[in-house]
Amino acid sequence: MVLDPGPRVLRYACFRMPGKRPWLHASVGDYRLLDNGMHTLRELRSKVNMAGVGGKIDCIGVRIRHSGVLMDGPAVLTGALLDGLKERALSAPLHLPPLLEVLRGCAELFGGIPIVCVSETAFFTRLPERERSYAIREDAMSNTDLKRMGFHGIYHEAAYRYVCGRGNGHAGKRVISICLERQPEIAAVMNGSPLMVTSGSTPLEGIPGETASGEIDPGIVIALAREKGWGPEKINAVLTCESGLGALLGHTVTLRDVFLSKDRDAKFARALVRYRMLCACGAGIAAMGGLDVIVFSGRYRSLGAVIGPRLSKRCSPRGAPGRGTVAWDVFPSTLDYIIADVAFRYLRLNVQALPASLP
C-alpha cells in the first residue's frame, strides 16, 4: 500500500507487486479534520480488508516530500527516523506535520507491517557541494536547509534507472531528467547521481510552475519589500500562489493547458517555459560535460512528445561528424507505482529490516 499524505489530501493506492495496476486507489480530501487523520486511516484499513481481491498488505510505502539531509535513500520507519522527521517539522511546516500524523497512525493501526519511507529529497543528498551551495556568508548558511536540493527525486531516480535499463546503451550515461509536474523540475544525472537540479532550497526556485514564480532576481524580493511595503509572508504568498503560468495567463491554468492551448497568452507562457527548459538543459550538459538522453516523467509526462523533439535537437552535440541528435524518452510509471516498487525492492534486499516498535 502506498500513502502520499499531503497537507489536505491523502492519496493511497494498493498494488500486488510486481503488477503495475493498483487494485485500489483513491484520494481523501480534508482527511485530518477528524481525529488528526486516524479516522481516515481506520476507514482505509477497513476498505483494504474488505476489498478481498487484494488480500493482505505486506508493506506500506510512504512518500516523504521533504527530509532534508536526514535520508539518503529509502528507509524502514524506526523511532529514530520518526524523531528525526519530528525535529525537522519546522523546515517544512506544510508537509511534515501531516506526514508525522500519518506515520504514527500507520504504526498504530497496521502494527507488524513494515513501513518504508521513500523521500523526494534523498536522491539529492548526493548533489556536489558546488551545486548545493549558494554564495552566502558561511555562518549564515550553517543551517543545512539553506542548501539546494531537488523535490522530485523519486521520479528522477526511477526515470534514470529506466533509461539505463532500456538496453539502448545508456547505462551509466549522462541523462537530463525532466519531471513534468505542477512545478517542473530538471535534473542532470550521471552515473546514478545528480549533478545539477533546477529547484533550490525550496521548490520556489527553478522552472516556473502553475502558480509559483520559479527563479527570479533576488532584487525583486527587495523591491517588493521596499516599494510595496510587504512583509515576508505576503511576498511568499505572492511568489508561491499568485505567480507562474497562471500569472502570465491571468487565470488558473495547468501545464497541460499551456502546452496544448492555442490561446495567445498560452503561446507566450509556452515559449517562456520552453526557453527556461532549454537553458536548464544547457546548464545540465555543462555540468555533465555532455548528454546522452533526455527523459520525461511526472503527471504531465505525455507532454514529452510535444517538448522532446525540439529540445533534443537543440541539445544535440556540435562539431564532430557523425554525432547525431540526442535521444529522448518518456518514463511511463506513476508516482504511486514507483514508490510501491522502491518499497518492494527495498524489503527484498533488506529482509531483516523489521518494523521497530515506535514510541
Binding site: 557541494e129 554564495a135 556568508r137 525550496t202 515576508p232 507562474g244 500569472a247 555543462a286 556540435r318
Partner: protein
C-alpha cells in the same frame, strides 16, 4: 568630422574619465577621482594621466560636483583639451532608453524617476549631468546606457512570471547590465574573426573584479544575460550572491525583521566571493591562496569551485540558446587576466564544440588572443574591454546622425531641472 569626447563613468564613490579623440579613438588623457563622498580613512584623490604619465592630487571631494569641477580644472591646464561633447555612462536606462540619447531636462527627469531601479549608480550620474550643465551650459551631453544593448531581448527571456499588475507597477523585467562592455567585445570579436556582426553569435563573459555577467548574443544582438532586474541576479560576484532561491532571501528577510535595506546590504555587499571565502572579495586573491593544506585552504577551494560552477552553468545555458555560437569571449579584469578561471569554465565543453588550448590559455601575453584548440568550431577569445572608448563611439555615432544634434543644443527646454 573630428570631435573630442570627454567620457565620464560615474560610480557610487568614484568618477572615472577619459578624453577620446574621435573618430580615431585615441585616448591621451584619463584618470579617476577616488573616494568621492563623505570622508573615509584614506583621503580623496584624483589620479590624472597624460600620455601614460600619472600625477596624483589629494583634495577634498565631498560630492560628484566637486570632483567634476576639479577634473575640468585639471583638463583646462592642458592645451587642446576642451571637449566638444561629454558622454556619461548611465547604468540603468530602464525600459525607456534603448539607445544613446542627448541629455535634456526631459531625459534628466526620466532618469530621476528611475532612481529606485539603480539607487547606488543613477543618482550620482544624474547629479553629474546637472553639474555639467550648470558649469558648462553650452556643452552638449549624451547618456549611454548599460542596459540598452539588452533592450531588444525576446519577451520570453526578459519576462518574470509574476502578476502583470506587479510587473507594470514596479517595472519588473530583466534589464541586464554591462551592455556597453558586452557590445564592445562582441564587435571586436566579430571583426577579429572576419564575420559580419549581423551574422555573429557568441557568449560574452564579462568577468570583472566586482560585477560579472554573461550575455548570449545571436546575430550581433543580446538575446539573454545573466543579470536581471537588478545586478544581483546571475553569477557569483565579488560581494553579490548572484542567483538565490527567493525563499532564502525571504528567510533572511524574516531574520532581519523585515528590514529591506539590511537584506539589500547583506546580499549586495557581504555575499559572493567575500561571503564564501571570508577572506577577500577578489577571486584573484582566492586563486592565489587556495593551495594550502588547511581548513582555510579547503574553504577557498570551495569558493573557487562554486564561482566557476555558476559560470559554467550559464555558459552551457547560453551555448544551448545561441545554438551555433561562433565564439566565447572573455573580458574585463578576471576574464582577461586569470587563466585558471577561463580553463575551469571551458574545460570539458566539447559537446558544444568548444575546446580551449591550455597552453595558449596559460601563455596569453597580449590581447586580443585566440586560445582555442586547433579545429574547435567555437573559438575562445580573450578581448580587452574598453568601456570608455565604446561610450565615445556610441556618442560619436549619435552626434553624426542627421537631425540628432541641432547645433549642439542639448537642453531643448532651456533648463535641466
Amino acid at each position: 568630422m573630428k570631435a573630442r569626447i570627454l567620457v565620464f563613468n560615474c560610480g557610487s564613490s568614484s568618477l572615472k574619465y577619459k578624453l577620446v579623440e574621435m573618430p580615431r579613438g585615441e585616448i591621451r588623457i584619463g584618470g579617476e577621482a577616488q573616494r568621492v563622498g563623505p570622508p573615509t580613512a584614506e583621503p580623496s584623490v584624483i589620479i590624472h594621466s597624460v600620455d601614460g604619465i600619472e600625477e596624483r592630487r589629494q583634495t577634498p571631494l565631498p560630492d560628484h560636483q566637486t570632483a567634476f569641477s576639479a577634473v575640468m580644472k585639471w583638463l583646462e591646464e592642458e592645451d587642446g583639451t576642451e571637449p566638444d561633447l561629454v558622454a556619461h555612462r548611465v547604468v540603468h536606462g530602464g525600459s525607456v532608453f534603448s539607445a544613446p540619447t542627448f541629455i535634456d531636462g526631459t531625459v534628466v527627469r526620466s532618469l530621476q524617476k528611475m532612481s529606485p531601479l539603480a539607487p547606488l549608480h543613477n543618482p550620482p550620474a544624474v547629479a553629474l549631468m546637472e553639474s555639467c550643465y550648470e558649469l558648462y551650459p553650452a556643452l552638449p551631453q549624451v547618456a549611454v546606457f548599460d542596459t540598452s544593448f539588452h533592450s531588444r531581448m525576446p519577451a520570453y527571456a526578459y519576462t518574470y512570471p509574476l502578476a502583470k499588475h506587479l510587473r507594470d507597477e514596479l517595472h519588473i523585467r530583466k534589464y541586464g547590465f554591462h551592455g556597453i562592455s558586452h557590445r564592445y567585445v562582441v564587435e571586436q570579436a566579430a571583426a577579429m574573426m572576419g564575420i559580419p556582426l549581423a551574422r555573429f553569435s557568441a557568449v560574452s563573459c564579462h568577468l570583472g573584479s566586482g560585477g560579472a555577467s554573461l550575455c548570449a548574443v545571436v546575430k550581433g544582438r543580446s538575446v539573454d544575460t545573466s543579470m536581471g532586474f537588478s545586478p544581483l541576479q546571475g553569477l557569483v560576484m565579488s560581494t553579490r550572491c548572484g542567483d538565490l532561491d527567493p525563499a532564502i532571501a525571504l528567510a533572511f528577510f524574516t531574520q532581519m525583521e523585515g528590514a529591506a535595506p539590511v537584506l539589500e546590504k547583506f546580499l549586495n555587499k557581504q555575499s559572493g566571493v567575500l561571503g564564501l571565502s571570508g577572506f577577500s572579495a577578489d577571486i584573484r586573491d582566492v586563486v592565489a591562496s587556495y593551495a594550502t593544506d588547511s581548513r582555510e585552504g579547503e574553504r577557498l577551494q570551495r569558493t573557487i569551485q562554486i564561482y566557476l560552477w555558476r559560470i559554467r552553468k550559464y555558459l552551457g545555458a547560453y551555448l544551448a540558446v545561441t545554438k551555433r555560437a561562433d565564439a566565447v569571449i572573455f573580458t574585463d579584469t578576471i576574464g582577461e587576466t586569470v587563466p585558471l578561471v577561463r580553463l575551469g569554465v571551458c574545460a570539458d565543453m566539447r559537446h558544444f564544440g568548444l575546446a580551449i588550448d591550455p597552453f595558449k590559455n596559460a601563455g596569453v601575453e597580449s590581447l586580443p588572443a585566440d586560445i582555442s584548440m586547433e579545429g574547435s568550431p567555437v573559438r575562445t577569445l580573450v578581448v580587452q574591454t574598453n568601456e570608455e572608448l565604446a561610450i565615445a563611439r556610441e556618442a560619436y555615432s549619435l552626434m553624426k546622425k542627421p537631425g540628432q544634434n541641432p547645433g549642439f543644443c542639448p537642453a531643448t527646454d532651456g533648463r535641466m531641472r
